[in-house]
């Protein structure tokens, strides 16, 4: 209530001389123009990134670039092993984070919707989401690479990336589960279904599109992450394709970093880095656009 009163009280009095009003109109015009400029800046940034990376990246990309391994001390050939490595790491991370994330969300919304435990878990999910990605890397290095003895490998990298993806999947799934109308649950329970049957056959199917959006968003996030795999999975050059979960891999994001900071042929390497950046950018942006598209369609069906 207090807020209402103070908010209203802070508005200036109604009657103002005509000149004051004119000035007010001008202030409003300038203010709104400034806001529009802020919004335009976002479009400009996105446009600039896509334009510059696209312009020079396209020149580097051809069929061989997408299908061959690097040659001649990273100055020629393609980046196929890095693309494959990124796919493996992402797939592994999602396989780990998806069941864990959905189960956490189900517990938080279906089994224990109130109380201090839920608060504690909610705060931990939020904090986990805010942990700097390089810290995940150190955790993965200590626990997966060293302590569990997985070494620098696909599995260490996937698990590390999976922890990073976990909060994204939990939040999205929770949102999707909360949006399922209570009446559907009650109808199912009234028909004699147990709680687990209700969750499995009624609630989860209804929440599926929302959960899927979360998964897709986390795919985009995981595929582009570099810091967590620096010490847990990635190598600048690995001969051939990975043949087991315990092998080191090349990965697109790390490949870009290594091309720009290592090696002895900066010019050729920058060209390849442009191509790799464009592939990564195209991969990640199309994945997020799919997620946004699914969500918008989903919203329309809710409204209809």
């Amino acid at each position: 209530m207090n807020t209402h009163e103070s908010a209203i009280a802070s508005v200036p009095p109604v009657r103002q001389p005509a000149r004051g009003r004119k000035k007010r109109g001008l202030t409003q015009k300038i203010g709104f123009a400034a806001l529009a400029a802020c919004m335009a800046a976002n479009i400009f940034f996105l446009g600039a990134i896509i334009f510059f990376i696209g312009l020079k990246g396209l020149g580097a990309i051809n069929w061989a670039f997408l299908t061959q391994a690097p040659r001649d001390a990273m100055t020629a050939g393609g980046v196929a092993p890095a693309i494959v490595g990124t796919l493996y790491l992402t797939l592994g991370a999602i396989m780990f984070a998806l069941p864990l994330g959905v189960a956490s969300a189900v517990y938080l919304t279906e089994y224990s919707p109130k109380g201090w435990i839920v608060n504690l878990l909610r705060v931990s999910v939020n904090n986990l989401a805010g942990v700097p990605s390089v810290v995940f890397g150190l955790f993965g290095l200590t626990v997966f690479v060293k302590y569990m003895g997985f070494g620098v490998s696909i599995i260490s990298g996937s698990l590390t990336l999976g922890i990073l993806a976990l909060p994204v999947i939990i939040s999205a799934s929770q949102e999707a589960l909360v949006a399922v109308p209570q009446s559907i649950r009650e109808a199912s329970l009234a028909l004699g279904a147990t709680q687990w049957e209700t969750i499995r056959k009624v609630v989860l199917p209804a929440a599926l599109p929302g959960i899927l959006t979360g998964v897709i968003l986390s795919v985009g996030r995981v595929a582009g992450e570099t810091a967590p795999i620096l010490f847990t999975a990635a190598a600048f050059y690995v001969k051939g394709y990975p043949d087991s979960p315990f092998s080191e891999v090349m990965a697109l994001p790390y490949h870009i970093y290594a091309l720009m900071t290592e090696g002895t042929h900066p010019e050729e390497q920058t060209r390849i880095a442009y191509g790799s950046s464009l592939i990564l950018l195209a991969l990640v942006l199309s994945v997020s656009m799919i997620a946004i598209f699914i969500r918008q369609r989903q919203r329309k069906t809710y409204h209809a």
Partner: protein, 294 residues
């Protein structure tokens, strides 16, 4: 039989739900365990306030003040960009954009947020840094200024989308009351809606700050890497995240250098932890203030 199964499933979900907490605790334990030896050796004060970071010199020096200051400088610089742009975009989306514009602009912000940090870093390194260097005749392109600009651009969508959420929670009645007493749209926005959403907007800024200070690949590629206390925005620097990422590969496991890098990570973790808790508390108060239960 059935009830037993139900209970078993509930226990299973409960256990799995504690994974996030377990990982968070695990991270804290790992960081403390690996960081403690260096605190014991050098002393917390000398570590935090020491002015020289020469981890591989003989004898090595482990003072991380240059790294902390570097992180603070680039984060402060990022805020100069992401606060006006982020909040401004949120206000535009909330106040001026019609439904059709929103349908395009909100995805633009989300897509900007999903650009990988390595791509931002690469862009900063090959496009922005050379351009700034040429245009303003800087001695070196990879410096605080370049890093701040890139970090600011990266944090803008974070600030914009959280601030826009906060604005959308302000009840319609506030606006209607303001119009009813004769205020125009700009006055309503600056004197009613922004103050009402103020704590929600501060949450957005804190989370944007947290994003900027924890960002690794961008600063690793763009900040220039020199571990000295910055004296101008044209100096190259080595923020905390960059030091960890750049040096971990060459630090022998279990060495003092290795422990010191974990100690930097611990401090970084604590900073972002405090930011996140602050954001959490402020946003909780914000919701209570506006009478929202969530």
């Amino acid at each position: 039989m059935n009830r037993k199964k139900e209970r078993l499933i509930k226990y299973l979900f409960t256990t799995l739900a504690f994974a996030s907490l377990a990982f968070l605790i695990g991270i804290v334990l790992v960081l403390f365990k690996e960081a403690l030896p260096i605190f014991a050796k050098v002393g917390p004060k000398a570590f935090l306030l020491g002015e020289s970071w020469y981890p591989t010199a003989e004898p090595p020096e482990f003072g991380i003040l240059p790294l902390i200051l570097a992180s603070l400088w680039v984060t402060a610089g990022a805020l100069v960009i992401c606060v006006p742009l982020g909040v401004g975009s949120a206000l535009y989306l909330h106040e001026l954009a019609g439904p059709r514009q929103r349908a395009v602009l909100k995805p633009v912000i989300e897509i900007l947020a999903s650009v990988p940090s390595i791509v931002y870093g690469f862009f900063g390194m090959v496009i922005l840094a050379p351009w700034l260097q040429d245009t303003f005749e800087l001695p070196i392109g990879l410096c605080v200024l370049t890093t701040s600009i890139i970090l600011g651009v990266m944090a803008t969508p974070t600030v914009a989308s959280i601030a826009e959420d906060a604005l959308s929670y302000v009840p319609r009645s506030f606006r209607e009351a303001s119009f009813a007493v004769g205020a125009d749209r700009w006055q309503t926005l600056t004197k009613v809606i922004i103050p009402a959403a103020g704590s929600g907007i501060s949450t957005a800024i804190i989370l944007g700050m947290s994003r900027a200070i924890g960002e690794t690949m961008t600063v690793l590629m763009v900040a220039g890497g020199s571990a000295v206390i910055p004296s101008s925005i044209f100096d190259p620097v080595r923020p905390m995240t960059a030091a960890i990422a750049a040096e971990m590969g060459e630090a022998p496991v279990g060495s003092e250098h290795y422990n010191a890098l974990f100690a930097i990570a611990l401090i970084l973790f604590l900073i972002t932890f405090v930011f996140n808790i602050a954001a959490e508390l402020i946003s909780r108060r914000f919701r209570l203030k506006l009478g929202l239960s969530r």
